[in-house]
Symmetry: C2
Subunit: 344 residues, 2 copies
Amino acid sequence: MKTITIKDIAKECGVGVSTVSRAINNHPDISDETKERIMKVIRENNFTPNSTARNLKFTQTKTIAVLIKGIENPFFQKMLKVFEEEIQNKKYTFLLHRVDSNQDELEVALQLIKERKLKGIIFLGGCFSHDEKRLKQITVPFVLSTISIFDGVDKNIYSSVSVDDIKESKKAVDCLCDYGHEKIAILAAQPWDTSISGLRIEGYKRALAERNIPINKNLIRYTLEEVNAFTMENGYKLMKELLESEEEFTAVYAVSDSMVIGAGKAILESGKKIPEDYSIMGFDGLDISYYYNPSISTIRQPVEDMAKETSEILFNLIENNAYNSHKIFEGELLVRQSIARLNK
Amino acid sequence: MKTITIKDIAKECGVGVSTVSRAINNHPDISDETKERIMKVIRENNFTPNSTARNLKFTQTKTIAVLIKGIENPFFQKMLKVFEEEIQNKKYTFLLHRVDSNQDELEVALQLIKERKLKGIIFLGGCFSHDEKRLKQITVPFVLSTISIFDGVDKNIYSSVSVDDIKESKKAVDCLCDYGHEKIAILAAQPWDTSISGLRIEGYKRALAERNIPINKNLIRYTLEEVNAFTMENGYKLMKELLESEEEFTAVYAVSDSMVIGAGKAILESGKKIPEDYSIMGFDGLDISYYYNPSISTIRQPVEDMAKETSEILFNLIENNAYNSHKIFEGELLVRQSIARLNK
DNA sequence: TTGTATGCGTTATCAA
DNA sequence: TTGATAACGCATACAA
């Protein structure tokens, strides 16, 4: 089956190729009559312009890449859905690209920009700690979504959408403290993760510091190297170790809902109860945190809104030449069954 | 910043463009010496060939599309990850395309094939009930993954990877029956879903029939139109209705783990216990089914293997011109805490 | 082994 | 309002 081209259409209509092109692209310089005639033939022949050739002309392709680290993280799922929708709606091509946890997302991005002539990039997940110089290499608009970045980097060279991880994290720990807990364990990612995990630990520390609760290093449980941190499995393992360590604690806070669900399993398996023996608190606000038994207290991030904002900012950057902007969303503390007041 | 092309490299090396092209593509007709020289310049200039132009030459692009209905279904997540990996490994481009539940996936596929000159397609999810004629319109290799299709369609025109939904479903219900349950409710998708949901209902019916347990239509709970069937939320709603209907039952089987988790929530909220008051059983074998409390009995589908097989079949079709093939995987019944023996 | 010229399917420029 | 023609960046047949 020979693929049908714009030339064939032109021949069939007895017009030049440029006229056909004009018809397709709604150019003004064409009479309604010929346009109608051409469109009819196009429909009849079921012709679709070859987007590859198109893109070659445009030098820039209308594609937006989502670079995602930790594609298995359910937290990203809803966001992905929104991105896909928005990008499809805008008639752009959606390019999903997974980047390995040990890969440098900037390298990948640079490569992709050149190879695919991207219009924009959304970075999702990963520990984003690149300096200004490297960030500047990225020549197309990009948005860091739900990624916090260090201060010290010029805010004008990138856009971001996130929650204030330190603040929200402090909220979570504050809540536990308000319930009377002082010996609070925290399940975190690797020590070198200064992004999400690091910031949330910082929030944890600040909450405790504010109440003059000394920080017990043994209660800060880091994930081992090479392990996928934000998973139920990892939460389960970390919790198991903690329980076996015989370090005393009354509450567990994990830097993600997935982790805390794993942790919950470990607790229940050990014969202890939630929240009677241990209170648990997560972060993210996945649907499952509500459906879990007991339902899990957490900080809900407004993912859909955040994803929408992300693509909005990106399209503003791309189409309206807007300035880089930063949107911080408010998290919502959801107090549910998983925490109990501590009677001393 | 002018984008650098193969021409620039050629000029810089003092050779012709074709020589550069040969160097890039590992052609035999080139001396190692010049090749080295060219590659060096390429590295220095940080040059990447424009894949758009490349694709235009090839007429066919090396891209594989994954058409997915119900992208929010966590069941697909692990598969997506595998696909993305495999496709990236094979140096193909991975094109993820969501299709709305009311969209016709074949239409979308046809469109995409022409527009993007696809090499192959993976269909994921959705109710696949197209007839032979329409299936034949798809001119590139494709694999239906975890989608069951009617008999009556010529097996030679498509490939598929799945479990035997009827058989596995029967396994699940058999298990409940073995535990003494007879009044077993089933939470299903819409009545018109003759694919996954329909087949699993069939398995349910066969299990009951084999034991001469009459089928109570009131215990078959269908999802309302327009609702996303395979979600926790939907399972929750369906279960709530069932509980309020005062229809008697002792066990609930849902056609997906997500649904059964929602159902579990509804049960617990009503003050009943699992498995003391109601036994519950899911399907899919999501990680969460293990971590849930109580852990949920389910039929585990070997998703990773299935995804790998899917891409293997597809690449065989594409690269080795293999015949269409069909792989049926065995599900694994996981009996966990969520079911109890019924003492009459 | 290398270089030149042509074409892939479009869009854009220019002249008609 | 149209049509011929030159790009876009690359690969390749063919000539050298």
